[in-house]
């Protein structure tokens, strides 16, 4: 394994007719990390993945995958990666087991023992025909097909959107094992708890552009902390202070969000006002997410 990133995308654009799907997207996924890929519906996550797979041609910008070019080296790269589409459609006349074997063999081989173990873990009946599976079970078929192959990189497009909580837990376990085994994972997701639990790095995109990227800890630093305090008296100037948002006052109880860089000033103001009780909540990914999404809306 080299130190060069598994995925390196910069300034990527893509137009569909007049619609601009990607507008200068940047994404770097280092080898061996689990990278969360977040964004509202229609923000360009799937388009990015399809460009990385060489199914779509990039507009302008640069996209590199496992040291190769997605469009030109598609087949050589596909031997080293596995993909789970967001919308899994199976062949109606093929059983799930047949689809798993077929996709695995087309990728270059399938580990039979691993397939059996995964079928057990995800509790999937492989004899049903494609048409008879529910959305969650179709996703399991695609997941097992991807995980049963020995590959370096997993590209997963909202792989758990149809799974029940039990199966989601199984999925998290498996991804944690994949990480320990040194595989790189790009996980596009809407399940924030899942991203928080699994991902080392996160990239948030909106309207085809990267708005945040970094470690979860690093991103939290940039974000607001929620403060709830019981004070002796209401401090002067709190409402107009820089970085204070969503202030509610109830008697001597205050509650507000504060941008990370203004934390110090506000805390000094609070202690000067006699703090009787104080709770601080770090930003959840959800708040981080909502902040970017609401700007979009």
């Amino acid at each position: 394994m080299t130190n060069s990133p598994a995925i390196l995308v910069s300034g990527l654009t893509k137009h569909f007719g007049k619609v601009r799907a990607l507008d200068g997207l940047d994404l770097t996924v280092r080898t061996g990390e689990v990278h969360g890929f977040l964004g509202p519906n229609g923000s360009g996550k799937t388009t990015t993945l399809r460009i990385l797979l060489g199914l779509l041609r990039a507009g302008s910008g640069h996209a590199e995958l496992l040291g190769g070019q997605p469009w030109r080296d598609a087949v050589a790269l596909h031997r080293r990666l596995a993909y789970v589409p967001g919308d899994v459609v199976l062949w109606p006349t093929l059983s799930g087991g047949e689809a798993i074997d077929l996709l695995g063999r087309l990728r270059g081989g399938i580990d039979r023992q691993r397939k059996a173990a995964l079928l057990e873990r995800f509790d999937l009946d492989p004899t049903k025909k494609g048409r008879a599976y529910s959305k969650g079970n179709r996703q399991k078929v695609a997941l097992i097909a991807a995980l049963a192959s020995d590959v370096e990189l997993l590209l997963l497009d909202e792989p758990t959107s149809g799974l029940d909580p039990l199966m989601e837990a199984a999925f998290r376990e498996v991804i944690a094992e994949e990480r320990r085994a040194g595989r790189t994972v790009l996980l596009s997701s809407h399940m924030l708890s899942e991203v928080e639990a699994l991902c080392d790095q996160v990239t948030i995109i909106r309207d085809g552009r990267t708005v945040e990227t970094g470690t979860l800890a690093g991103l939290r630093h940039l974000t607001r902390t929620t403060i709830s305090a019981e004070l002796d008296r209401l401090p002067d100037g709190l409402p107009g202070l820089d970085g204070v948002h969503g202030l509610t006052v109830n008697g001597c109880h205050v509650r507000f969000q504060i941008d990370g860089e203004h934390l110090q000033v506000v805390l000094r103001l609070l202690t000067d006002s006699g703090v009787r009780a104080l709770t601080c909540q770090p930003a959840t990914l959800e708040e981080l997410f909502l902040r970017h999404y609401q700007v979009a809306a």
Binding site: R50, V75, Y83, P85, V89, P92, G97, E98, L102, L106
Partner: protein, 529 residues
């Protein structure tokens, strides 16, 4: 039934192009045929001579049915065009009904609609209403088109009603088939098999003069309405009643099943794939083998039937000394038999073009159903994926033509006592059709690569070639127009030593179309849905 009207509007909106084209083509073919017959045989004497010729040739009757009144232009038009237009109306009804019932359930769109304020049967009712409306429109247009040319109004009305009535019966057939199967593809195959059976029963009944057989077939009824030949109006009641019974049966079945389910239960599959299922070609074979088997069986049956009938074409000569004299000049009764066989093989080649288009466009079906994406995301080169379904199209069409040609040769050979020789002779004459058949796969491939939204044009090309072949002579079209069809260039292998020139350049043309389509696909984005 709540929401039926909305569903009708939805269906009309989705079919706003497809439906008018069907209606105009079906009605137009008849109107044009009548005009051409009036033009070609202006005098009653000529028409009667033609009628006598047809009447004494079982093979011709098998193709188009009996002539009830050869003295009038209307009578001859009814003979010439009834089977073709009634079969087209039946096809249209099947396509429309399947598209708005089983296909909707299969994609899950029916679920979306079914959860709204829409009655359980609204979707099926709407599909039946739309198909019925289209058939009524066809009947009216035929009546207007024929009466407008000065033919008797009663006959025109009977003709229109017979064609529309056949469409109505197959509306019921398709609705019933949609209850039995879970896939739209199987629904269409089942309904098409019913249409094929109807054609066979009628062909056998007319050729062997067994009236009872022909009366088992809606296509037989369409002729026995006797438009322009002393109309038998009561036959129309057969269409109405049969259609009603079929629709009622479908409704009964529909009450007993869940949304999305069929009555034929889905069997569990294998937990592991067979060892061969490891390449795109193996997948294409797995997906298409059932369809190919159906096509091959149909070709063998049709080949056997027409092969067995071919010899009787020569019987005409015995009854008609004038014709015998003419025939002596062109090579005797044997030549007439050969002409008939050649026409039949040419028809097989054309119909095999339908298979070639269908198998090639499976590529598009896979792409728009998002099933191409997971395959192309594995280590499969795009051209290898293309080649898989294309291989089925090219290999499969050659295979069914071979089967049809061998069957026809064998049946004909058995009747004249030289089965092996005739089987080889007709196989050869069948195989020369293959390059022309393959051009249709080429056209479909080029469209798929270059203009994936317009792949339906491949079907339009097939219909255009069929019309050029079937009506080109009747309409006395210019040779330059008729030569647009690749089938116009197929050598007459039965009557003269084959000229390989056209086969080579048709093959080269096909190769060019296929390559251009493949290159275009390799350069374009994969489409989402």
């Amino acid at each position: 039934m709540t929401g039926t009207l909305t569903m009708v509007w939805l269906a009309l909106r989705r079919d706003r192009l497809l439906l008018p084209v069907w209606v105009v083509v079906v009605a137009g073919v008849i109107t044009v045929s009548a005009a051409a017959i009036a033009d070609l045989y202006p005098q009653a004497g000529q028409r009667i001579a033609l009628g006598v010729t047809i009447g004494s040739a079982p093979a011709l009757q098998a193709l188009t049915g009996p002539v009830f009144d050869a003295t009038s232009v209307g009578g001859l038009t009814a003979w010439r065009a009834t089977t073709m237009s009634a079969a087209l109306a039946a096809l249209m009804s099947m396509v429309v009904v399947t598209r708005h019932t089983r296909a909707e359930e299969e994609t899950g769109r029916a679920e979306l609609v079914g959860a709204c304020r829409v009655g359980r049967y609204a979707m099926s009712t709407a599909a039946v209403l739309v198909a019925t409306g289209a058939n009524v429109l066809i009947a009216l247009l035929i009546t207007l088109g024929l009466a407008g040319q000065g033919l008797p109004v009663a006959g025109a009305l009977a003709f229109g009603a017979a064609v529309g009535g056949t469409g109505w019966v197959f509306t019921g057939v398709a609705l019933l088939a949609a209850q039995l199967t879970t896939h739209a593809r199987t629904t269409n195959a089942l309904a098409a098999a019913a249409l094929g059976l109807a054609f066979l029963l009628r062909a056998l009944g007319d050729a062997a003069k067994v009236e009872a057989l022909a009366w088992l077939s809606p296509l037989g009824w369409a002729q026995r309405v006797r438009a322009f030949a002393g109309e038998r109006w009561w036959v129309l009641a057969l269409f109405v009643v049969t259609g009603l019974v079929l629709v009622a049966a479908a409704a009964l079945l529909a009450r007993r099943r869940d949304l999305g389910a069929g009555l034929m239960p889905a069997r569990p599959g294998r937990p592991d794939a067979a060892a061969y299922l490891a390449s795109p070609l193996a997948l294409a074979w797995r997906l298409q083998r059932g369809g190919l088997l159906g096509w091959a069986i149909s070709f063998v049956v049709v080949g056997l039937l027409f092969g067995a009938l071919a010899y009787s074409v020569g019987d005409i000569v015995g009854d008609n000394p004038q014709l015998a004299a003419i025939l002596e000049q062109v090579g005797g009764a044997g030549a007439l038999t050969d002409t008939f066989l050649a026409a039949e093989l040419s028809l097989l080649g054309l119909v095999a073009g339908g298979y070639a288009v269908q198998a090639t466009l499976r590529l598009q079906g896979e792409e728009s159903a998002l099933r191409a994406e997971p395959v192309l995301a594995t280590a499969v080169l795009r051209w290898r994926w293309i080649l898989s379904h294309l291989g089925m199209a090219l290999g499969g069409s050659a295979l069914i033509i071979t089967a049809g040609g061998l069957a026809a040769g064998l049946a004909h050979g058995l009747r004249i006592g030289e089965p092996a020789r005739q089987a080889m002779r007709l196989l050869g004459a069948a195989l020369v059709q293959v390059p022309a058949t393959w051009t249709l796969a080429g056209i479909a491939m080029l469209l798929f690569g270059l203009l994936p939204r317009l792949t339906a044009l491949a079907w339009a090309a097939l219909v255009a070639f069929a019309l050029l072949g079937q009506l080109g002579e009747l309409l006395q079209l210019d040779d330059r127009v008729r030569n647009l069809s690749p089938f116009a260039h197929v050598p007459q292998a039965l009557s003269q030593p084959s000229d390989v020139g056209p086969l080579l350049w048709l093959g080269a043309l096909t190769a060019a179309l296929l390559s251009a389509g493949t290159v275009a696909f390799q350069r374009r984005d994969l489409r989402e849905g």
